[in-house]
Symmetry: D2
Subunit: 258 residues, 4 copies
Amino acid sequence: MTDLRWKTSVTKVEPNKVSIRGYPVDKLMGKISFAQVIYLVLTGNMPSAEVGKLVDAIFVSSVDHGASPPSVLAARTVASTGAELNAAIASGVLAISKYHGGAIQEAMHLFLDIARRMEEGKKSETDAVWDVLNEMKEKGKRASGFGHRIHTEDPRTKRLFNLAQELDLAGKHIQIALAVEKSLKDMLGKPLPINVDGAIAAVLCDLDLPSEIGNAFFIIARVPGLVAHIHEEKIRMRPMRKIHPQDFEYDGPEEREL
Amino acid sequence: MTDLRWKTSVTKVEPNKVSIRGYPVDKLMGKISFAQVIYLVLTGNMPSAEVGKLVDAIFVSSVDHGASPPSVLAARTVASTGAELNAAIASGVLAISKYHGGAIQEAMHLFLDIARRMEEGKKSETDAVWDVLNEMKEKGKRASGFGHRIHTEDPRTKRLFNLAQELDLAGKHIQIALAVEKSLKDMLGKPLPINVDGAIAAVLCDLDLPSEIGNAFFIIARVPGLVAHIHEEKIRMRPMRKIHPQDFEYDGPEEREL
Amino acid sequence: MTDLRWKTSVTKVEPNKVSIRGYPVDKLMGKISFAQVIYLVLTGNMPSAEVGKLVDAIFVSSVDHGASPPSVLAARTVASTGAELNAAIASGVLAISKYHGGAIQEAMHLFLDIARRMEEGKKSETDAVWDVLNEMKEKGKRASGFGHRIHTEDPRTKRLFNLAQELDLAGKHIQIALAVEKSLKDMLGKPLPINVDGAIAAVLCDLDLPSEIGNAFFIIARVPGLVAHIHEEKIRMRPMRKIHPQDFEYDGPEEREL
Amino acid sequence: MTDLRWKTSVTKVEPNKVSIRGYPVDKLMGKISFAQVIYLVLTGNMPSAEVGKLVDAIFVSSVDHGASPPSVLAARTVASTGAELNAAIASGVLAISKYHGGAIQEAMHLFLDIARRMEEGKKSETDAVWDVLNEMKEKGKRASGFGHRIHTEDPRTKRLFNLAQELDLAGKHIQIALAVEKSLKDMLGKPLPINVDGAIAAVLCDLDLPSEIGNAFFIIARVPGLVAHIHEEKIRMRPMRKIHPQDFEYDGPEEREL
């Protein structure tokens, strides 16, 4: 023992035994889904089946969004130089930042701030929303989690909110997100719909998760998508090609049903 | 259209519609697990429920292994300097390399090579295994996927193989892995048991997945564990502390049952 | 030509000709030092011989600071897993952040802020320094660029300021840095000396360089040091060793003179 | 002291004293160039003024090559998402790989291999070169360090070799590189000229530097160029723009003289 001794509460490793937040990992395997174990390892708590299902849907919603996001372009660019898989993934993860996938944490702050004003300031939802939006307008700040370059009605947002409802997990932060969407439309004179970042943010707030790990949900969800693009780049394209950022065409399977 | 036009078969994005390998993502949400969607996006094929369950168990098996792996130490070291979450994750991913989590692809090559010799060379399993091991010995190469610094009987390996059996998905590569383990013991005079990398490699071969994405399964599994450690570093430790690589103690929940 | 056409003013590449900010690179080679060319490529201007010499000294000052900084530990940890050189460097660069090497930009803001108050607010240096320090104290903010865990009188700071003097390049920001050091001592009752980050920040302000590239000077300086450590890790240490963050000993050449 | 105690020969840090490979850093500042100190920290030896000048020219030669290399595109893509400077640099460094800037080490192996055959096998230069090239042809391997997409006569190669000559530092490996270039032309029926990677490789061999750090020379040289592009991206472009990989135009200073 030295004076540098420290403590960790994530995982206990003993000879022939590995316990994640107290649960032997071999007992989890085959019984608990990856999404549930992600929730467990991040929060320290085993989620209910319902929470597990909602978290699962969050990850599924964000697994990929085609070849145009900068994370994919950075990852493909690095892969194209003959780099290792992990280097290309790391490069993609570094592109998940402020303007791309990095809005979840900020949107959580927004919704939590409004909820706090409602509770502490005894304000109505509408008043709290307008107060915050007006303050942001004055500072020239945009609302994180709203607006999308391609989707006017993001199918992932709608499905996520419906699922939260079905699972009886929808709470006040989803309400607040919808109220912000409404007020933004009134303020701007045109719709600025909740995007998938904003929807995830609202759901994570309703699940009482800390905002500091908000962006992690997007990153964890997107890594498999990055791998798919890196793998495609490596097996299908020639090295060092010029990667056009939007002039590509989908040639995968036709739309199909489950 | 330009002469740089290219094609991708991963995801089709249209206004208000996102289809992963042909499946609208909002149809997948709430129905298909994250593990299944990872398999889908990586391979282009929707896995059966059984395959989904086995892949789920692979990810669960490798979500975390405590604070001592270099990926965790690199991620915590970067987090400790006040870096963003994604920078710390990227650093951790860069440490998942040749000697740490990077053995899956090589172990897959080993098992596929033995299977090929059995089929093409009409050799018995035992002969093919010994041929390969002797060749490796001559070249001074070690068998990837065997041996562990802490575990003599890795609980994850056993559970993974049992689960493959239960789900009727165990095939010849698991057999080959066990035969290699047996021959290594005879060759070395002491056991060098299949570790979790080797076990995952055998299962991925039996699932007919390409070896090029073998290491991706470990990386995808481990990113959530890295996030848990980064988050703990940020909320529990002071910045710029000296991070001892082994003098730490687990102080999380006692062992508990599902 | 497409509607994505964009412009860059860094380097012009034509067949058999490469011009950095207007200068053919083969004309620079052998005539202009690397430090000068770094200044040129970053700012667009060819530095005088004196400025080149001062910038050279900045880079020399920060090339390495032993094995304890987190950038070195992260880079060695990644190198130890068998990763490629560039992956280990990238990991080290990711650790050059807020609390480690990331103070130059903030210290530049501090000195520029004080200079602005002196000029716009017609304040004396002393008044402007105290105003800023008091405001920072109220907000609980620490002054970036001051204090060091090991050095009470950083030899690099002294040499850098002396050199600026000798080269007739010392200006008001070095004066301000010294005034802040003095006031901090009065405020805290103990010395909090200018560290090398603070010294570089003052010099860069006097050279009229933009604060946005302040941290770049440290990163550029430190990359060669990271490479030296990565190379030592690879040729001298066994893979996957436990890297103690402070229990190491220097066994290189004895002190020697030029 | 613990059983993890280790040794390092790079830098000794004591209170108020920092010694790089034995030289107090404040004694180096203002006397020795950054390029010389890079050589010192990498190799442990202080280079002569001549060697320092040649190494300086290597770094100058590779500081930037316009906006089209994948390292620049990856770094700009990450910068465009609002990421920190160091994350964008790291991403660029990860793209300096096998097919881009990663050829120096391999070209050094090629030249060293030919030199060894001449010495050990008592072969003429021509015979050794042809032996190696024929073996590579059989294996379908290309010669690293030869050929360029844009330059038929790389101005950097010529200047570097001339400078080595002027400084009396040109040795047998530059001769070998020229002999390989000649034989490749005969073999292929068209010229495949030495590119800057190949030229640096030959010079580094003549300077007796280990091939393991060959690629480091390119990475160290290019980091400042990456910073210039990242800075331009941040101050001149809007976030999240689509970055076309070749449809850009130089609009910096006209060609100018020193």
